[in-house]
Symmetry: C2
Subunit: 308 residues, 2 copies
Amino acid sequence: MTDIPRIKGVLSPVVTPFKADLAPDPERFVRQCRWLLSQNVGLAVFGTNSEANSLSVEEKIDLLDRLAGAGLDSARMMPGTGCCALPDSVRLTAHAMKLGCGGVLMLPPFYYKGVSDDGLFRSFAEVIERVGDTRLRVYLYHIPPVAQVPITLGLVERLLAAYPAQIAGMKDSGGDWSNTKSFLDAFAKAGFDVFAGSESFLLQNMRHGGAGCISATANVHSGPIAHLYDTWRAADADAQQARLDVIRGVFQKFPMIPALKVAIAHYGADPGWTTVRPPLVAFTPGQAHALVAELDQQRFAMPGLAAR
Amino acid sequence: MTDIPRIKGVLSPVVTPFKADLAPDPERFVRQCRWLLSQNVGLAVFGTNSEANSLSVEEKIDLLDRLAGAGLDSARMMPGTGCCALPDSVRLTAHAMKLGCGGVLMLPPFYYKGVSDDGLFRSFAEVIERVGDTRLRVYLYHIPPVAQVPITLGLVERLLAAYPAQIAGMKDSGGDWSNTKSFLDAFAKAGFDVFAGSESFLLQNMRHGGAGCISATANVHSGPIAHLYDTWRAADADAQQARLDVIRGVFQKFPMIPALKVAIAHYGADPGWTTVRPPLVAFTPGQAHALVAELDQQRFAMPGLAAR
């Protein structure tokens, strides 16, 4: 069993396309993932922006199988596999390993609030032990505004001590740079890969020893974000960062997930993309028009998308 | 297809027993549910206090099948069937209807925060439409401290208008009597059954047209809570309520779910009951001893439990 190369760089929590009957649309999904790889963006499928927690375990397994079946490189996949229920997390993580995924992005169990680090340690430990695969690389997913259950420094320290080969890094979607920096300061030198939760922190993260970013807007502004990762030591890095911030700022004026889907529908000339699953709500034509107008004003483009 | 009698009274979010390997323990579960029915307490299995969101859909379906297979009255069952993912909610709800459950207690999808009433309406509507069973009785589950996604008056109004036969009531676990009362005032006369989320509000709820309560502590203080429901118009009702509050107060000094399990283990002479699934943590012997000492001091008992 050979080692899978370590994931670095820019990944996208790939938005999940749905058919009119709200079933996942595997053909559109595979096409989108292939386009993202062509932009040098890795596949953090089943993230928050993927509406992953609106998908059943079976639907996620099927979509992952479709990606592998289409020949996409599983070493560049970091599927979200952290569920509320231990057997679901084990099942999804084991399936990701069967397909040779480069890593898994693991939410803590997020229903029960105010749980202890003891309980969270045991949650992650049980998944790692039950999956029992030495190739497993777990990236802990810190997103307190949504999950409401944080990943603390103390928890990471305990997990790293117990599973130094499996605990590979984290994604920090807390939106607080000082928190990201405290994880970098504590663990980056030991090989713990910190991904910023958005490209807004990409340059800062790279300058402090981070591994890249996993960002909603990497679904749409894909090539330019990946380019900053590749050239973050270049003279124009700050200018690149400023341009990324402008485009992200446009998306942030809108509910993010339907906005990403509208952009893909519009710039990919594929109106079927706009469907979201409840409890989310798709944009009205007015909202969609307003988003596209602002993006056009910024000369935003998604090269090669319409031809995919 | 005959109508299932409407659920009223006291129900317990039945705590879920686990084996040492953390698998659900169907034998202990059936015995506990049978004992609860003997105390005149209905079965709101798969509630928050059941660690339901730490169970997979398959595990819930299996446990429900075990209850039905053991001959327990499904008309007295109100399983929790609201999941984050629409297909999971549909699958569980349809299974509950196949078994003839008297109702289902439905959480809103709880991962995405700040969602609109439009999105929540569509979530519940999709489940009702897809299950497509005229016998379905949905009880909406309002538990903002945990789910962080509330059930509003406006949402209930819209759902009742669209599905008057299916939207049967709610459980209010917000802990705020004024909120419960606003739902009673708005909808109780139209036949919408409001269950208080704990017996602390049982008497008040009955005096204002409520239907009963669904309470964690009905797992353990079962008979006395059910007795107050049966005799809430009696002269000693306030005294009964005061006694219920004392016992609930003891449990509330501790993390609720492991405390309930310790009480069942102790008063049922069945130590295997104390196991919880991560992210929860079982009591230390010291915590267990402290709980039992306080309960003994209050002459707390669980009649018939050890003999079950």
